[in-house]
Symmetry: D2
Subunit: 303 residues, 4 copies
């Protein structure tokens, strides 16, 4: 899948995002063997504004007013103008990350087919500081980093199992690393079956295309601290892509989604009482312990 | 909604479709007051090929092989690579056409809001040769053109009702054609209510964005002879856009969709008997009359 | 489109919602000629819980725990379990309402075809207290009710134009109210063209089917006070349907969506300062005037 | 995830499919450890007809006419009425099958989370007659069954690697088969990381819900002879579910989709010449070798 990229730009009458042009076609490393590469995009902040103006007939073309309109759209969940820009990326990622990623259905995907071609000997091994214990208070999270000794065992197991699985994968295919038959008297198992011997940390790759609105939905969930670290590593790169591509939309997304909060009716009532000077306790709040803890943490945390 | 388009091209590292660049931002007239204008696009034939190669690892970069791969994808309904290109158009169209168009749900839309702004006095009046009688054998089609006298009555009715509805629309709004109040002592009805007095031939406009796969689905249904003439007028322009944008995909679309046929199991059995030299009749075919007629017409029609 | 409904229940091994069974097939009147009728449904609160348990393996089957889990899902935007229930309704509604409704793309729709059949002489005329002036501070809203004199003019215009448009519709079709030709010497215009003479307040009808998650999205937007009154009239009925169908989900939806609020990063900072005892003003808040007014109204309003 | 199913039916006023009621909640075994179980459904053949009648106002309520209407809809790709019925199934399947399955995006899914819970020691081992060589003429298919000796090696590798991977999975988690810690002095790796050591033949499970239209799209692709054997095993069960649920739709689906063919423009021209008595050869056909072979096979095969 080597590809040739012309280093000479072409001319276009389309909207151009200067920040995105600088990122285009450059692979950004993620985890140990993964990458993200922006392949193509359509539209910029102005495309969002332009589409909104069809609906609302608003304003002028000055940036300060574009910023205001984009904030307004984000704040009021007027999402359709954000569907008017599009991004296409090439991603190399471990299969277990791909399984989380694909749950976002509002995107187009073309994945490398291991029925069709042989996968490379590339698998994910967590770095030392990602090897963490099971969290006890969050059933789907990690807690503290494992001790040196335990971490070494983990790495040994992951690495040796992945290597052995791949050796056997080639055995099953009756193929050596260069694609030549190992034993001319054997047929070799079909690729679509042999691959089932590989583990979930093997790398796959795909083209993934989505619109700006769904891109932000993806980021809201996957750049979140509750997301698994490995997919967050991809989302963090993509947050930077968002900022370079559509700076006004990125700022509004931070202000109204990522750094904003959702208060329930009961939590809002508590906030009103607090502002009125009342000393509200968990017991008098009407919230569950978990909701109360969340509210306290939201109200106390400094930006 | 006047817009300024720079006539100077910008530089980009993205894929560029030379045919599409020539169409960009130019309004193409449709019906009496409508238009289609391509606002933006992403990708070209090579983008389809490139995405397919991620999956299948196929071939080289020569055009003849790109053509073969695109034909293969189309023939086998491998639709995801065609989702990798995108188009955005600005359309002005009568509301009854918009109502048919919007049934294609896999697209993004921003429509001019008549809650927010006042609609213009622009309505669709069919041209002389579009004024046809109800078909008797096709419950949702047209038959022969109406006589001169009857057509004149039709035009008179459509025109005078549309004009009167608009006069009353302004009356309801208490606004003259220049946006000034007619009678300073009146409040004027809200825009969202006043508009309900307009008829379905009034023009609206929207931005519409979809991917190449769904774009072809739209064309397959709306460039078809069973589609209502007025929406076909838009689809015909868009067929030309398709050809300029992605010539290889357009050719494959013609070959395998538009000019191809779907045969049922029973129709296929009939074809086999015919090729074997048997004289098959409607009675011996096992088909309903309608299916038989369709099959005969498919087999007899000359390209 | 008359339909016969058996009044005798059948036996099923599926989940049954007692509240929904009582609503089934009963038309609820909306506006002057519209209705909503629940045709079918799939699942109940327990179906949401059951799907969530596949993912999270949570809890037991007691209602108190079901309530907690449903609240948890709603609060954390874990939306997929809510996609596991489904509703199908039959709606009769004015075309301008249908145009707003159809913007929700994640639903299935079968609409009555005016290409195929003749529409009835049924159009929407707002009731006296819905005839309101254009709002001046909200570009897409209504303000105070019109005066008696102005309202009478509005009603006269709407009614007489709708009647005339329908008379002419029949003229164009060359059909009287009973479906007989008016003038045997004329062909009559095709139905697909004649209908364009009707105004946007004419009634259409459709079957509409969506899942519980998208149903709530619809309600969040359309039962909102910023929605146009006429579509809100439908949403209000559907809010009641939601409550009867899935009472636990309905309560969580109220608590975490309808009656909750979204605070931006800046608004949250203001709230923190207020709780700390600081007297924050619009000027010192960092919010725009509109955002400040919204925040004040959220913090002051009593439940 | 044990579940209790009441064996006593409840009463409903909804449409009931007698065939589907008989299947409900019964697990059908697939592969070595998988199953499919229908959890819920909405609608039947009559629901399709009923929705179509809203659009077309067609016909009466007799079965012969329902059959005709369903055939008509299928033949003309009028797909929306088929969206009016819905199915929800519980599936246990190997992860590599799940990865193919999930590519169908128009469905709702809740999958068992291995971040949240520990997976069971259950993995797929192909049966003797599924262990086949790589096809040489179809890059993503299987050819003849492997020899006894080679097959034995394959089974040994797959089984011992899967067992070892699972042993190590428990080691990483520091958990024995009963959920107790192996070594009290160790923390154990978090579940979300430990699972990456499992191979693609491990079983997962999910709830999957889709409408009848998309269900048939799934079957068209996955019950096809080009689909991988393991997903076809699931699709075959679901073909039977389709037949029991909506027998008229199933028959039309066979007639117009599964057992019908799509002819390209060029292939159609060849068929016309053949019927005209001409002896067409590959060289004179205008088709590629592959297209010619496909056409010959379609025209020669006996039903």
């Amino acid at each position: 899948m080597s590809e040739h990229f012309d280093d000479k730009p072409l001319q276009t009458f389309r909207a151009v995002s200067p920040g995105m042009e600088r990122l285009l076609n450059k692979p950004f490393k993620v985890l140990d063997h993964g990458f993200i590469r922006v392949v193509d995009y359509m539209g910029d902040d102005a495309a969002v504004v332009q589409a909104a103006r069809v609906s609302y007939g608003r304003g002028t073309k000055q940036t300060s007013q574009d910023r205001g309109l984009i904030n307004y759209l984000m704040r009021h969940f007027h999402t359709t103008p954000f569907e008017m820009a599009e991004i296409k990326i090439h991603v190399k990622l471990p299969i277990f990350v791909a399984r989380q990623w694909i749950r976002h259905r509002t995107a187009s995907v073309n994945e490398y087919s291991a029925r069709y071609s042989v996968l490379d000997r590339e698998f994910y091994i967590p770095s030392r500081d990602a090897i963490a214990a099971q969290s006890t208070n969050n059933r789907q999270g990690r807690a503290e980093i494992l001790s040196e000794a335990e971490a070494r065992t983990v790495l040994d197991i992951l690495r040796s199992d992945a290597e052995r699985n791949y050796d056997h994968y080639l055995d099953l295919l009756n193929t050596d690393e260069h694609g030549s038959p190992i034993d001319a008297s054997r047929s070799g198992l079909s690729r679509e079956l042999a691959r089932i011997n590989l583990s979930l940390n093997y790398y796959t790759q795909w083209y993934w295309k989505t619109n700006l609105h769904n891109f932000m939905n993806f980021l809201r969930l996957r750049a979140d601290k509750h997301a698994q670290y490995e997919i967050r590593a991809y989302a963090d790169i993509l947050m930077n892509v968002l900022e370079q591509w559509v700076p006004l939309t990125h700022a509004a997304f931070r202000e109204h989604r990522l750094d904003g909060v959702q208060l329930s009716a009961t939590a809002l009532a508590v906030v009103r009482r607090m502002i009125g000077g009342e000393k509200v306790t968990e017991a008098s709040s009407g919230l569950t312990k978990r909701e109360w803890d969340d509210l306290v943490s939201v109200l106390e945390s400094k930006p």
